[in-house]
Subunit: 365 residues, 2 copies
């Protein structure tokens, strides 16, 4: 079966840096309110997407299959899935098909290194769906042909499948020496990231085009940058640059080795709406039913925004940083990062941040 | 959706004592060769079971769904699944349906407390199927209606869904004071275990009858006892009794509290072929296509059988014992157990051990 084999060409090791698991103070579960803000804003979008489902979507089955790609450990994935189920049920009711409301089976996907044990232990006993975990990269095949009716992916597609090889190759003109991200780097490094992103989007859309059932929909929430703005603008990219400068400072002090900083890159890419459209067009098998751009809204309670940004960044990066530099430097690194932010709150203020809300529908064969 | 809700009536806590995870020397992964011996013996059975599949099994889908119930962390589950896929492919080829060989999606099920992270990290990159993990008790619903074509469960159905409440209730005539298993206990305790087993089998078969696709098959490998033999005979039961006597000795020495021993029971039940037949008949929705009884064969290499028995028992029980008595007593307990076995190798020699190999087929609606 060539299809399942395809996944193996993606080395899990290359990109398998999970969000921080467990439920400690630095865990992803406790530090994903920014993502949840977007999720709430997207609830209406899920209704619109469900409206676009073919009404005979279940012609060959009485189970509606939902997959959340890049689910992490919860709880945002649970809110998203519940909203999708509500939207699909509403679609059926609205069409007078109350008696045909299907059963739901939900596939929670993330990297093999994700903390699925924690995800599974967070499942509600009263959930109204059958649940399964699917480990593996969403840049490869994860599901059988034509088997998923509703794909969802929120805050995941900004992660590349891997660090582009050239940027950690000393002998390449794209070697990213002294930096950990493309957004403040040379044209060669930027091009290497752009090429990786284009290849990844092609793989993502190819895999989904095969896996999605006829008449099914795909909803994507992607943090990115506005058309025509430079890579140095997005606030997320500024954060990575700042982390990079903290690491270089620690290298100068001898706390970490400079070689290790040179070999460390964050495989996150801020795409534009145009780049997404081009990928969809290049793939050719989806129609772009909707694309909306929202400003990135942070929902914060009593903690300061700065602290919140640091917490989010730490939840996202701690695994990678620990793997590269060891656990012992993590606290110092993020303290130094927070200090810089508190001293110059304007560092991130120039940054932009947008989220695209995208609905794709598989074209008829 | 009542179906998914049903699962919630089973308290996960009540039975969620997983096999020892990880891959250390006492882990299940390194101590399941006895189970694998039976798996090899059962390969032929899987071929026979596949033969019994309706040939139009996939009328409504091009994916063949397999579920392994009580999969633990591998590797035995992988061998079983590969054998099933081979057998199903052979069936298609044999019928001249080479071009219609389906894709396979495999659901690996075990308790929520199972180490799914380890299971997922053990997946072969070259596997010829799509894989998903499904956490939850197989005594409740796990899958949508009529969605699974081939159920498999090996060395799992001897575990009850929970310790019968009465046996840890001081005020019940079935209080199992000073013992940790029913097999050397009073009639009241035996009846409590028997009743729990009957209820569990009813739940298991009810759930599977709803989940299995028309024309699908269920293969069960169950360690049990021969018809007409007493509960005190199976070698597994003798092991539990011996562990119980070691615990009581430790209680007398003050190493563990006697109250904790009284509150500790092992929810494992050795059923007979007759009990299984009665459960299938009571359920009424499966035909018993085959039941074969094999002697329990141990496949051992260079380690002594005694050591092997201890290792297996430890892998199966360590989680429960740690939870009840604390980690610090585990080594002492199993050393004392091993010593008793070495001093009197005949202790287990009187025991019997059989495995049933069972093929069930869903009756037409």
């Amino acid at each position: 079966m060539a299809a399942a084999g395809e996944a193996s060409k993606f080395s899990e090791e290359a990109y398998a840096y999970p969000m921080t698991g467990g439920d400690g103070p630095n865990s992803y579960a406790k530090n994903s309110t920014l993502q949840r803000g977007a999720g709430d804003a997207a609830k209406e979008l899920l209704n619109e997407a469900a409206e676009k489902l073919d009404i005979d979507i279940l012609s060959s089955s009485n189970t509606f299959h939902i997959a959340d790609l890049g689910c992490s450990v919860g709880p945002n994935t649970f809110f998203a899935v519940e909203n999708i189920i509500e939207a699909v049920k509403f679609k059926f009711q609205n069409q007078g098909l109350n008696s045909q409301i299907p059963e739901f089976q939900v596939f929670f996907n993330d990297h093999t290194q994700n903390d699925f044990n924690m995800l599974f232990r967070s499942f509600s006993q009263n959930r109204q769906y059958y649940a399964a975990g699917v480990p593996g990269s969403f840049y490869g095949r994860l599901f059988p042909d034509a088997s998923v009716h509703f794909f969802h992916s929120s805050y995941a597609l900004q992660w590349l499948s891997r660090v582009p090889k050239e940027v950690v190759d000393k002998n390449s003109p794209a070697w990213n020496k002294g930096r950990i991200h493309y957004s403040n780097s040379t044209d060669e490094v930027v091009r290497a990231y752009e090429a990786q992103h284009a290849e990844d989007m092609e793989c993502f859309l190819n895999a989904r085009a095969q896996e999605i059932a006829d008449g099914g929909v795909t909803v994507l929430l992607i943090p990115g940058r506005p058309n025509g703005t430079p890579h140095s603008h997005p606030v997320g990219n500024l954060s990575f640059q700042l982390i990079g400068s903290c690491l270089m400072e620690m290298a100068r002090k001898g706390v970490v080795s400079e070689e290790k900083v040179d070999a460390f890159n964050i495989p996150v890419y801020a795409m534009t709406p145009e780049e997404l459209e081009a990928a969809v067009e290049g793939n050719g098998r989806f129609s772009l039913e909707k694309m909306e751009t929202l400003p990135h809204v942070s929902t914060h309670g009593t903690v300061s925004v700065t602290q919140l940004v640091v917490s989010h960044l730490r939840a996202a990066l701690e695994g990678r940083i620990t793997q590269q530099f060891g656990e012992e430097i993590v606290d110092e690194l993020f303290e130094s990062y927070l200090k810089k932010l508190e001293e110059q709150p304007s560092i991130l203020a120039t940054g932009t941040a947008i989220i695209f809300l995208v609905v794709l529908k598989r074209k008829a064969n």
